[in-house]
Structures are given as C-alpha cells and as structure tokens.
C-alpha cells in the first residue's frame, strides 16, 4: 500500500465567504470585537497577574496588604521562591522532588488512556462484532459515574483484592512506596477512559469509509489500518485530548492524595502545595510562589501545543 497522504473531501478547509464559519469570522474581525476580546483577556489575566506580583513581595507585605499596593510602595524579594525551591528544611520546599513525582505520574497517566482509547475507538467504529453498539453505549454511560463514588471501591480493590463468596479472585496488591505510582496510573487511566473513548470514537467514526475499504482491498489488517491511516488522521484530536488529560492529571489533588499518599516518594506537586502553608496556614505567603513553580510545565505544554489544541477543537466541531 502506498503511504501518500490521501486527500479527503471535506478535510480541506478553505473558508468560503458564504459559509456560516466565514460569516462568524468576518464579524469577529471588526475593531469592536477586538477591543472586547482584549478587555476580556485582560480581566481574565488579572488574578494570575496579581498572584505573580504577590509572589515577589516580602512576607509581611503579603500578609497585611493586597498585591495592588505593590505599585504604590514597591518592595521586591525572591525570598519566597528561595523558600519554596531550596528551603532549608524538608518542610519549606524541595519542590524539585515533588516536581519529578508529578512528571512521573503525569506522563504514563496521559499516554495509557490515550493509547487505549484510540484503539478502542477504532475497534468500536470499524471492526464489526456483535454488541458493539451496546459496549459503546455502556462506555458512554460510564461518564455519568462521578469519580468520587469510585474512590473507596477502587482503593479497596488495591488494598484488599477481590473476593467473591470466599474465593479470592484477585489478591491484594500490597504496593509500597514508589510502587504506588502504579495505583495512580491505574486510577487515572480508568477515570479518563470513558471520556477519551467517547471523544475519539466520534472522531474516528467520521473518517470516510472508502478509505478503510480501499485499505482492506489492498490487504491491510486492522492493525495496519489503525497505524497507517487512522492514527495520522486523528492526530489533532489526540493532541487536544493530550492537553486535556495532561492538565487534568497535573492539577489533580484528589486522586493523588488517595492513591499516591502524601509521602515524598510518590506525592505530586499539588499534594505538596496543599501542605506548604503549614499546619495552621501560617506560612501561606509561600503559596503564591509555589503556585507559580507548579504552573511552569502546564504553561509550557499549553503554549507549545495550543496550535493543535485550537485546531483539534475546531476540527471536532466544524468537520461534522
């Protein structure tokens, strides 16, 4: 089979002036719309900006006055960052350690569900087998189950195993220290799958059937079709899903608290951030700088992938 990229009708996206998208685009290009969008952007950035200014102020200032007073009486210090990143004791910082934990938790927790979901989406769209639609409806319905409801049963699944009528179907996992990463990966993958399958299924099922038929006629197996035709075509969707899942896992506190625990072997940044303020919140001036350290990576990921992010969203909606 040749590997030239097939030209798909409908995927080519010249914007015709007569289409709905074209009209919207025209209207959004006026000066008034630009001013409004700039105002909205500024308003939305103010809290983050305030947080940033606050993170550079001395402790006493943070605790007694608002960040806007920085402009009338500027006082600048990097003490908070120093405290958070290279603190003297185990308590006030060493975020670096937790940073690594966050990365170790996030990368597999993003790759696993997306890999599984892409394969499941292909199978549910293009492999014909009995009950396919019911399985899809079941997965779709699983999105309704709130994550919080599954926490205790899943934790019990790990720590007690599964027994049915006295017969042990699965022994307890007995994971310790660093092994607890497995629990977190498992949990995040489970919680992400229903939505990921749903999203990718919508995408994969919209691919033209002629493509698949042509490939089958050429003698390609499902694996081959999946790798050489489907994957390249759904890359924008994969990229936007990656960003969603990445941000969700990176910012997650609840799942990490329960499945990773708070020890420094496995706890991610969010868990550490929550403790940074001290037992009675007396060191909360550290939170501002801690928060900024924690958003560096998501910011980088978002900025470098936002092209795909927007394209993924658009293709998902317009392509139809």
């Amino acid at each position: 089979m040749s590997t030239t990229t097939p030209v798909l009708p409908g995927v080519t996206s010249e914007k015709l002036p007569g289409t709905a998208a074209g009209r919207v685009r025209k209207r959004l290009n006026t000066r008034a719309a630009t001013v409004v969008s700039i105002i909205i952007a500024v308003l939305w950035t103010i809290p983050t900006f305030g947080l940033f200014v606050s993170s550079l102020r001395p402790e006493q200032d943070i605790k007694t006055t608002g960040w806007w007073t920085f402009f009338s009486s500027p006082a600048f210090t990097l003490e908070n960052y120093n405290d958070v990143l290279f603190g003297r004791s185990a308590s006030s910082g060493q975020l670096a350690n937790y940073f690594v934990n966050s990365v170790v938790i996030t990368i597999p927790s993003v790759l696993f569900p997306i890999a599984f979901a892409a394969m499941a989406a292909y199978a549910l769209s293009w492999i014909k087998f009995r009950g396919r639609d019911w399985i899809y409806v079941g997965i779709f319905a699983l999105q309704i189950v709130p994550l919080q409801m599954a926490l205790v049963p899943l934790l019990s699944f790990f720590s007690r195993g599964v027994t049915l009528a006295g017969i042990t179907l699965m022994p307890a996992w007995n994971l310790d220290d660093e092994q607890k990463f497995i629990q977190v990966w498992f949990a995040h993958t489970c919680f992400a799958l229903p939505f990921a399958v749903f999203l990718l299924h919508n995408f994969v099922s919209q691919l033209p059937g002629e493509l698949m038929e042509a490939a089958r006629v050429d003698g390609a197996s499902h694996a081959k079709i999946f790798r050489t035709i489907v994957l390249p075509l759904i890359t924008p969707a994969l990229a936007s899903l990656t960003i969603f899942q990445f941000l969700w896992v990176w910012n997650d506190l609840l799942v990490a608290l329960i499945f990773a625990g708070g020890g420094d072997e496995t706890a991610p940044l969010t868990v550490r951030l929550a403790e940074l303020a001290g037992t009675r919140g007396n060191e909360w001036q550290r939170l501002t700088s801690g928060a900024f350290v924690a958003i560096v990576i998501p910011l980088l990921v978002f900025l470098s992938l936002q092209r795909y992010f927007v394209r993924g969203l658009l293709t998902g909606s317009v392509k139809g």
Partner: protein
C-alpha cells in the same frame, strides 16, 4: 496533513525522559537499621525485637511541625530499627475516613477530634491501647482528659500534643508604654477594654475566616464563655447534648461573648466594623497588634506561629499572651484546650511499641526539646520548653488547680461542631440575634 512530523520519535523521547526521571526518583533510599548496642540506646531496650519493621503514621500535622515530629522520634527509630513512615495532610479528617473504608488505614493516626475518634471506635476500626500506653497515660494525664479517648469503657490512645485556647494575645511593649496592666479578672478585662476604647482606639481585633472552616474561632469564644458563665459540669452536658443548644445558659454565654465581639466600640481594630470579623482570616486577625492598631486578641497558644519572622514572643517581647480571665476566680479557673490522641488501627507488636513510646514522658521531653510544642503530660520537664508561650501553656496544663476541658466543637457530632455551629457563628457575627442563632443549631442536632 501530518501534524507531528515524526510521531514515533516524539513518543520515544517522551518515554525515555519519563523513565530516566522515574529512575532518578527511585534512587537514594536510605536503609536505616537498628543498632541497639550503643549506650544511648539503653533507654529503648524495652522496645527491642522489632528491627526492620515498618509503622505508618498519618496526621494533620505538616510542614515545619512535621519535620520536628520526625526528628523527635529519630533516636527511637535508630535504636529499635522500627521504620516510621510519617505522612501529614491538610485533608486528614476526610482522607482518613476514605482510607479506612478502602481498607488502607494507617497503623497509627493522631486524631485531634474526640468525636471522630469515637466514630472509628464505635465502628470497630480502632484497636484498644496496649496496657503500657494506658498505664503511662494514666500516670501523666488528668483523668478528665483521658475520658476523651475512652469510648464505651475502652481506652484507645494517649494524648500527644496539646494547645491551650484560653489565651489573650497582647503587646507587652504597648502595655508598658501606655501603662496598661494585664487583667486578672473579667471585670478588669472589661475596664481595660473601656479604657482603651476611651482613647478612640479599638481594643480588640478578631477574625473568624478560615476557608471552609470559617467560623471556628468564634466557637472557641462561645466555649470559653460557657466554661466561665455556666461552669464545667454544665459544659459537659452541653457538648453531649444533655441540655438543648438553645438553653438560656448557652444564651448567657453567647451574649457575654457578644459584649466584646459585637460591641462596635471594641472591635475590630485594624480591620473595620463588627462585620469585618467574619471576613478577616484568623491567621491575620491578630497582626494589627504589631502596628498598635489593636491591643487584645483572643486566640490559642498556637497563634505564636502566626507572627511574622523576627517578632519576639515573650513576656518582655513584642507580643505575648495572658490567661483569658475567669469571671469569678473563686469558682476555679477553667481552661479550654485541645490536642491530638495517638490511636492505632493495627495491633502488631511494632505498632504497639511506637504507641507505648509516644505515650511516655521521655517522648514528650524529646519533642519538647526541639521547640514549638506543648504537652499536657505531667511527666514532661518544664525546663525543656524553651519558648515562653509554650512554657506558659505547659504550666497551665500541668496546674492541677485549673479545670481542663476539651474544645467543645470537636466533641460534638461533626455535622454540628464542624458544620452548623460554624455557620451559625458567622451569621451571629453578621447580625443575627442570639436566640435565633442557637435555635438554628439546636434544630440541626438530631
């Protein structure tokens, strides 16, 4: 339309980086093992025989205080070879419930709410304390205090740390400059407040904002005044719902608190009017004392940690605290206090060894020497508490003439003590009258 020019390469790079980082994270594991031979370890001989065993502890103590905690049992772990895996979390109360339900309970937990302790005990999750823990607790703590970790006649754990809530913070410097004296009775406290109010300054500052726990500092006011107006016996009935929440005695106490908290001449120094109390965070509430914008702030001993670095907390320093005076000292001086209890969800020998050790005065002294801690243990040597406010707190806790009671809102069912009561106090500060406030709480206590 290939968006990733070389997707496979990107994948490989991502996974290699991930692996390298995780490998780095796994390195550097220390393997401390017991060396019970050195002379320093003689004191720990009775805990021997558990070398290499692991005990997990879960509590709400975190950050700097957690570091000190881990240091305090360092010698014990080195000598006995027991590996203590400590974990502190701000979501302790909720997480503990999840972990216990999920079959993943810690070996030991430090529970600061006797109400929560009783819940676990009644559900059969807790193990009764070993005999040694019980005997050393009985030797070192007042019987009143041990009742809080006794459920249906079974003793579950010894107290660990404590804090004294009946304190009023002030600035010794300011008092000296202006010629104020530390009040010894309620009448003196009020006349001092009037005197300060006469100088056009607000004498009191207060704040009850505390995230999703907003309102709790006001419950301490109510409890302190219940103890002072109605006495400890009525207080005990009140926290166990022996008298209704809207009993006239409770109303008297709350009105007495209102004499200060809802008096526009008295509050809220440095912040604004009475209503500003509900929006001022408890961490910041006392700070105007440093700027001479307010003179008195009622808060527990642990408020010592809230002062900015460089503030001298001592009787002759920038700030210090005096005992929140009794209304009628001849009837005894009540003290409102709180603290954690060491309870166990497992009864393996190494867990019991840790439990036994934490109950001893030896441990209390070891922790006290590191500073920033208060223990109610009578076996603790007062000279080990270097910090003046800790020393004063320990003196008060060890003083057998004082009547000691646990923070009432921690004893009530959490739906009330950590729920409706908090919200009711916020409404009360914001202008609701005493009778309606108390009736709301009464109606929520089923």
């Amino acid at each position: 339309m290939a968006v990733f020019p070389r997707p496979r390469q990107a994948l490989v790079i991502a996974s290699v980086v991930g692996l390298a980082i995780s490998a780095a994270a796994c390195g550097g594991d220390d393997s401390g093992s017991g060396n019970g031979d050195s002379a320093d370890c003689a004191a720990f001989d009775k805990y021997d025989g558990n070398d290499g065993k692991k005990v997990s502890i879960y509590a709400s103590i975190r950050d700097t205080e957690a570091d000190l905690l881990e240091q305090s049992w360092e010698q014990f772990t080195e000598c006995t070879g027991i590996d203590i895996d400590y974990e502190g979390s701000g979501e302790f109360e909720a997480q503990l419930q999840v972990r216990v339900d999920g079959g993943n309970a810690p070996d030991i937990a430090f529970i600061p709410q006797p109400g929560l302790l009783a819940t676990f005990a009644k559900a059969g999750k807790l193990k009764a304390a070993p005999a040694d823990t019980k005997s050393s607790a009985e030797a070192n703590y007042p019987a009143d205090w041990l009742k809080y970790s006794t459920v249906d006649g079974k003793f579950y754990g010894a107290p660990l740390g404590s804090n004294v809530k009946s304190f009023v913070w002030y600035s010794p410097k300011q008092f000296q400059e202006k010629g104020y004296t530390v009040p010894k009775t309620w009448a003196e406290l009020i006349s001092l407040s009037d005197k300060i109010a006469g100088t056009k300054e607000k004498p009191w500052c207060a704040g009850i904002e505390s995230g999703d726990a907003t309102g709790w500092p006001a419950t301490d006011w109510l409890e302190d005044l219940m103890l002072r107006t109605a006495g400890p016996e009525v207080y005990d009935q009140w926290v166990t719902h022996g008298i209704p929440f809207n009993d006239p005695k409770v109303a008297t106490a709350l009105n007495q608190a209102g004499e200060i908290l809802k008096n526009p001449k008295y509050v809220n120094g440095g912040f604004g009017d009475v209503k500003s109390i509900s929006t001022t965070s408890f961490q910041e509430a006392g700070l105007p004392i440093l700027e001479n914008k307010c003179s008195l702030h009622r808060q527990a001993s642990f408020y010592a940690n809230q002062w900015p670095e460089g503030t001298k907390v001592a009787e002759d320093g920038d700030v210090f605290a005096f005992y929140f005076p009794a209304i009628d000292p001849s009837k005894g001086e009540p003290v409102l206090a709180a603290g954690e209890f060491t309870v166990a969800f497992a009864d393996r020998p190494e867990v019991q060894a840790v439990q036994n050790y934490l109950a001893t005065p030896d441990y209390a002294n070891s922790r006290a020497k590191l500073g920033n801690w208060v223990s109610g243990s009578r076996g603790a040597d007062i000279n080990n508490f270097a910090n003046p406010i800790d020393k004063l707190s320990v003196q008060i806790l060890q003083d057998q003439s004082k009547v000691l009671r646990f923070d009432g809102s921690d004893l009530m069912p959490s739906a009330v003590g950590a729920g409706t009561l908090w919200r009711a106090m916020v409404d009360w500060i914001n202008g609701r009258d005493t009778a309606t406030t108390l009736t709301t709480v009464q109606n929520s206590w089923k």
